[in-house]
Amino acid sequence: MTTIAEPRSPRVRRSGRTSTRGNFELYGWIFMRVSGVVLIVLIFGHLFVNLVQGEGINAVDFGFVAGKWASPLWQIWDLLMLWLAMIHGANGVRTIINDYAERDGVRLALKAALVASLVVVVVLGTLVIFTFDPCPPESPANLLPSFCSA
């Protein structure tokens, strides 16, 4: 039998942390809002330059991408967009998995696949931005940006 405190006795405060759960969900909630605001600017800018300006989608080819990434502005823009959008999207999908996948095994498997795809896509995208060669040798000049032949 457990003894209970006498009525009207002061509330017993355990020393230190009363929870072992941490503030992960709070930080996630804040991240969704902060990254969301930044992504509105980054993605609307991306869509304007790639789909609206000039010839729109018809202008997009290797030379177009190489021309953009010749500028550090677009390298940083795309890098930031990649990281923020992938983490924002993965955290959103994590919430949805938690809501609808009721069996523990299914939930774990879906989250493992989610984390794997997050890591693969972010690492691959980052490597591409930083190791990109706008003028690969032995490629026909008409496929390359004009500054390659200069």
């Binding site: 989608i57 959103g92 490597l127």
Partner: protein
């Protein structure tokens, strides 16, 4: 573990349906993003490989898909601002329903600006 009966409405109306639309558009954008990073990564393979794959996107069906994707992004962005106003603005919860109609209005204006331009590029002529 108790399971919820299928096919129920939470509270219906604007609040619930905007939440549903936010989830659906969010998942759609996420899966596009996975594909989009992979296809862009082809620039690291060769100019020919990238141009070949991007070339398969340059047809009316994919052009309409891009229009749908932009629509999903525009809704998700504007409704995201609405969610933040509900969270951080004192009167946000009171005006959440009005704000959804503002979101839908701004969505229509944005798409009215984007669609003629983009469809002109896709179908030629503009």
């Amino acid at each position: 573990m108790p399971t919820a009966p299928a096919g129920t409405l939470y509270r219906g109306r604007e609040g619930m349906w905007s939440w549903v639309a936010h989830r659906v558009t969010g998942v759609l954008i996420f899966f596009f993003l996975l594909v989009h990073v992979l296809d862009t990564a082809l620039v690291r393979v060769s100019p020919e490989a990238y141009n070949a794959v991007i070339g398969t996107y340059k047809n009316p069906i994919m052009g309409l898909g891009e229009a749908g994707l932009v629509a999903a992004i525009v809704f998700h962005a504007f409704n995201g601002v609405r969610i933040m106003l509900v969270d951080f603005w004192v009167k946000g919860p009171k005006y959440q329903r009005v704000m959804l109609y503002v979101v839908l209005g701004l969505f229509l204006v944005t798409m009215a600006g984007f669609l003629p331009r983009h469809l002109g590029h896709v179908f030629g002529g503009a």
